[in-house]
Symmetry: C2
Subunit: 344 residues, 2 copies
């Protein structure tokens, strides 16, 4: 069969390759009806080292099931299916929590062991968990939108969900690529009242506005930050959908978020490893917190203190008068005391 | 009056200073009953540059209201109060959201403009919003616990809340200082079934166990990560309470979090500025997201596609056959196409 193979940066070829075939009893073989090129495919297109064997590209597809392995139970030959970019068994603890990308038997298409879907056919591991069977006949006009459910629309939705877009809130979408544009759709669906697109391409901006973007910021860096703050009374937005994955986009993201807000990052991180990148990104691990609104918490905690149900005061293991304060610092610094109380 | 002044690293003195007094009509003057030294006071104690004027330390206190400004409405002379580490007006949009630390008229004690509370008395700005008036008589035995509500207990609670501690979940607390110990109390209160303390000091570990820690990991770095994973079936914990603020603690935090979990960071960041540090920390801005569980989202999004309520397929602006795939990469890379669909 024929398949798309990337041999290095800028070097994509369509090659004859061995036919895709069932390898595990849980596999399905899917004939590709439509596949697509993802923004994340452009990263290796920019910087992949030249190889002899190449990488079989493509992780977004819809198609028809050609054959199934002996242990496949729900997916049937002839089914019209969406193939999400990650395969997953659908039964593990993470799949049950809706986090299929962390499936203990899962993985991604377009890698060494699982060739991609920009091809005539693809082997789909964990077919029952991975493939989504579409109901009945399918209108040709819907093909494109159905295809986006394999990645970009789901990814834009994930950006909106993890950025905690809420009804009546404000949102900013960084990036006017396909994911960013789907992020606009998602933010609107979830009820954001104001949706600021950070992008520079007139055609994409026009589409974003049709999708629901209310404002456009085409500046970058410090100017973009200033402009978003200006549009939001100085505060920034409740939700930032980071749909790029570059370091400067992440810095813009945290600088245009309103205090107490959230960034939903779905751009695959292409910046130096920081606590915000790997493995936090791949594990969908949230990094939250900051200075505690201690005043707000007193209401909840005080009754438990007054009733003796919690005894946080036990962290104090030294009492000094004001003159003892300097030695209190020393004692805490030298780990001699956990915490010092000062009675002036 | 007398007050604690830090002049540089390791140089803390108790000095005679001008009496604290009302300056704004919204101020209260509070006589300090108890103050305390905070773990965060140790950062300048370690690295503050020597100064002539010094810094008036202290942001955790309880005390009695001595006098109030003309615009103070609810706080009265004689009230016994908790002074949280940040002052806040109690009326702005952030205060209404319970995020007093981002109050538009707020700030912190122990700075240039608002001297600290490790002193005989302190001026409290925005008294009505800042001070929490305690009910009636107060048992001497409760003083210590009440004092913790000004900071460390609220901060441990915030770590637990932002790490999304849930009933029956697993939690890890990084740091066995006062905040970490209060984090153990908080995690237990919120129903964590398993609470792993990462700490090394026997006396603190003993207290943590009394507070509810079920496991202790005294290793550091890669060994600590391996040990926590070992304790949790290889997965890591749902919630990590990062109560240190050092770069290696944050790296440990994201490496012991379970996929889909959360880190609640309350340690003031003392590591290089990254998207996870400033301004995300000071603004309590969450950084969430990762690869989208696209499979899980199809259920929700498909009906809207089928009914034509959303049209994400419009992001495709080029259709190619398989042979056209290489040029499709080029076109997307050169921003000539938003997104390319491949029909094999």
């Amino acid at each position: 069969m024929r398949a798309t193979v990337m041999f290095g940066a800028g070097d994509v070829r369509v090659e004859r390759v061995p036919d895709a075939r069932l390898m595990e009893p849980t596999d399905a073989l899917v004939t590709i009806t439509r596949a697509s090129i993802c923004g994340s495919d452009l990263w290796p297109y920019k910087d992949m080292a030249q190889t002899q064997t190449g990488r079989r590209m493509g992780h977004e597809a819809i198609g028809v099931v050609e054959s199934v392995g002996s242990e496949v139970r729900t997916v049937r030959v002839g089914d019209f299916v969406i193939m999400p970019f990650a395969f997953s068994d659908g039964t593990c603890v993470f799949c049950h929590e809706g986090l299929n990308t962390s499936c203990v038997h899962g993985g991604f298409f377009g890698t060494e062991s699982v060739p991609g879907a920009q091809a005539e056919a693809v082997r789909v591991p964990q077919a029952d968990g991975t493939l989504y069977v579409l109901p009945g006949r399918t209108d040709e006009a819907l093909m494109a939108s159905l295809l986006t459910l394999s990645d970009v629309m789901g990814t834009g939705h994930h950006a909106a969900i993890t950025a905690r877009v809420r009804r009546g809130g404000t949102a900013a979408v960084i990036g006017d690529g396909a994911v960013g544009l789907c992020g606009v759709i998602a933010a609107r669906r979830l009820g954001a009242e104001r949706i600021i697109l950070l992008g520079r391409h007139p055609d994409r901006i026009a589409l974003a506005e049709q999708f629901g973007a209310t404002d456009v910021v085409s500046e970058r860096g410090a100017e973009a930050i200033a402009r978003v703050r200006e549009l939001t009374g100085g505060f920034g937005v409740h939700s930032v959908l980071e749909c790029v994955g570059a370091g400067d986009a992440m810095l813009t993201a945290v600088n245009i978020a309103r205090a107490g807000g959230a960034v939903g990052r779905v751009g695959v991180p292409h910046y130096a490893a920081t606590p915000g990148s790997e493995p936090a990104f791949y594990g969908n691990i949230g990094i939250n917190g900051g200075p505690a609104p201690a005043r707000a918490y007193i209401e909840e905690l005080l009754p438990e203190v007054l009733e003796g149900r919690i005894e946080p005061g036990r962290v104090f293991d030294r009492l000094v008068d004001l003159d003892g304060a300097p030695d209190g610092y020393r004692a805490m610094n030298e780990r001699e005391a956990i915490k010092v109380m000062v009675k002036p």
